[in-house]
């Protein structure tokens, strides 16, 4: 499993970084992402790229772990 940390990045950088990994074929990918817009945007982009997204709360407050896998 590949890992990527986009915590604390503002729009649209979380999506840019995740897209780079997806385009490079780095799947499955585990993304650590901040709550709010980044969490929603990365999830939406991954789903529109045809990936499955499994979400769980991170250990830190306000952080979520998204697991992106091929459908």
């Amino acid at each position: 499993m590949y890992k990527l940390d986009v915590i604390g990045l503002g729009c649209p950088h979380p999506c840019i970084e995740v897209k780079k990994e997806i385009d490079a074929g780095h799947l499955p990918l585990q993304v650590s992402v901040s709550v709010g817009a980044p969490r929603e945007n990365v999830t939406r982009m991954a789903k529109s790229s045809g990936l499955n997204v499994c979400e769980k709360p991170g250990t830190e407050e306000g952080v979520y772990i998204l697991e992106l896998t091929k459908a």
Partner: protein, 351 residues
């Protein structure tokens, strides 16, 4: 997608309502104009016709804060190059006052048939495209880190202070007696409109720059639907109220200098992409505990004060020499912020 369309429609409808109840023409909401009015109300500039503590701004921040708290999204953070965010806010205001409106007012002006806003839209899109090139070239956005919770309440406390000043009217707070600053919807209506739109914008992440940016950058038109929703609702409202007039000339609080309408909004477009959101979005992020966004807002207020103290803002007659120089200088500074990393050799993407 349905949510963002509904939010757009509500924002457009509320904007028309506020105008009908007394706000200046095509200015149901204008983040740049309202922050400029607040700067005037606080005596930070001396332009007597644009001084008023706009309750919409207070409501937008508090509405976003209340919903963010309710949804567990009030996260106090900051430190992603805050000085740069201040400068970007400052420059966005210079650009917006050259055009006479933020991106939100640009859409409202378009919906009233103001073709100068179409020129502004072209400039805004051009600016966003330049911003995207900067992002792709390795612009380092910086990372925010968690900050003490109390820090996140500084902005809401400022807003409550403004509300108190608006209601109590102490001597040192200025209120325009003529001009756009004297035209306002009733305080409670404007405050309620701000609260509702603030909450909706927090929930939907509405951003006037984000829709165009994401459509080009990651082929995701999601946020663009908010933009469309505002336009449609405002257009229908204007047609019903017979406020629609398709022309360049004779438009309220607008000028017809195409080059400066284009370049003014180009400044806002670049600034919004590099700052991670349009002026409206900065207000919402500020309410959610993003202290870098608060500095962007303070930068906008400072920019407005400078603009009116040094004759940089446009009027219906157009943009004067000082303002033209300011717009060109803003573009140069944005170029340095956006592409400066290329001067020093290799780009660094992550902090």
């Amino acid at each position: 997608m349905i949510l963002i369309v509904i939010v757009g429609l509500v924002v457009g409808a509320v904007a028309i309502l506020l105008t009908a109840l007394g706000n200046p023409a095509n200015m149901g909401f204008c983040i740049a104009c309202f922050l400029r009015d607040i700067a005037g109300g606080l005596g930070l500039h001396g332009a007597g016709v644009v001084q008023y503590l706009r309750p919409e701004i207070i409501g937008l921040g508090l509405g976003a804060m209340i919903l963010a708290l309710a949804r567990g999204e009030f996260k106090v953070r900051g430190g992603a190059n805050p000085l740069r965010r201040f400068v970007l806010g400052f420059l966005m205001m210079i650009g917006a006052l050259a055009f006479l409106g933020c991106p939100l007012r640009m859409v409202l002006r378009l919906a009233a048939g103001d073709l100068n806003a179409l020129i502004g839209l072209f400039g805004f899109i051009a600016g966003i495209l330049v911003g995207i090139v900067a992002l792709k070239s390795g612009f380092n956005p910086g990372r925010s880190v968690p900050q003490p919770k109390a820090t996140g309440y500084v902005y809401p406390v400022i807003l409550v202070g403004l509300l108190a000043a608006l209601l109590l009217k102490p001597d040192f707070i200025r209120f325009s007696e003529s001009g756009p600053g004297s035209m306002a919807a009733p305080i409670l209506v404007a405050l309620a409109a701000g609260l509702v739109v603030g909450a909706l914008a927090q929930r939907s992440r509405l951003c006037m720059a984000g829709g165009i940016r994401d459509t080009f950058l990651i082929k995701d038109p999601h946020l663009l639907w908010g933009f469309v929703g505002i336009f449609v609702a405002a257009l229908v409202g204007n047609l019903i109220l017979s406020n629609f007039s398709l022309s360049f000339t004779g438009q309220p609080i607008a000028h017809t200098q195409h080059l400066w309408n284009f370049l003014g909004m180009a400044v806002v477009g670049i600034g919004a992409v590099l700052a991670g959101g349009c002026p409206l979005r900065q207000l919402i992020l500020s309410g959610e505990g993003d202290t870098d966004a608060v500095l962007t807002v303070i930068g906008m207020v400072a920019g407005a004060a400078f603009a009116h103290n040094f004759g940089l803002a446009a009027s219906a007659a157009g943009l004067g020499t000082n303002g033209r120089v300011a717009v060109v200088v803003s573009l140069v500074i944005l170029g340095i912020i956006g592409f400066g990393h290329r001067l020093g050799g290799k780009a660094s993407v992550k902090s």
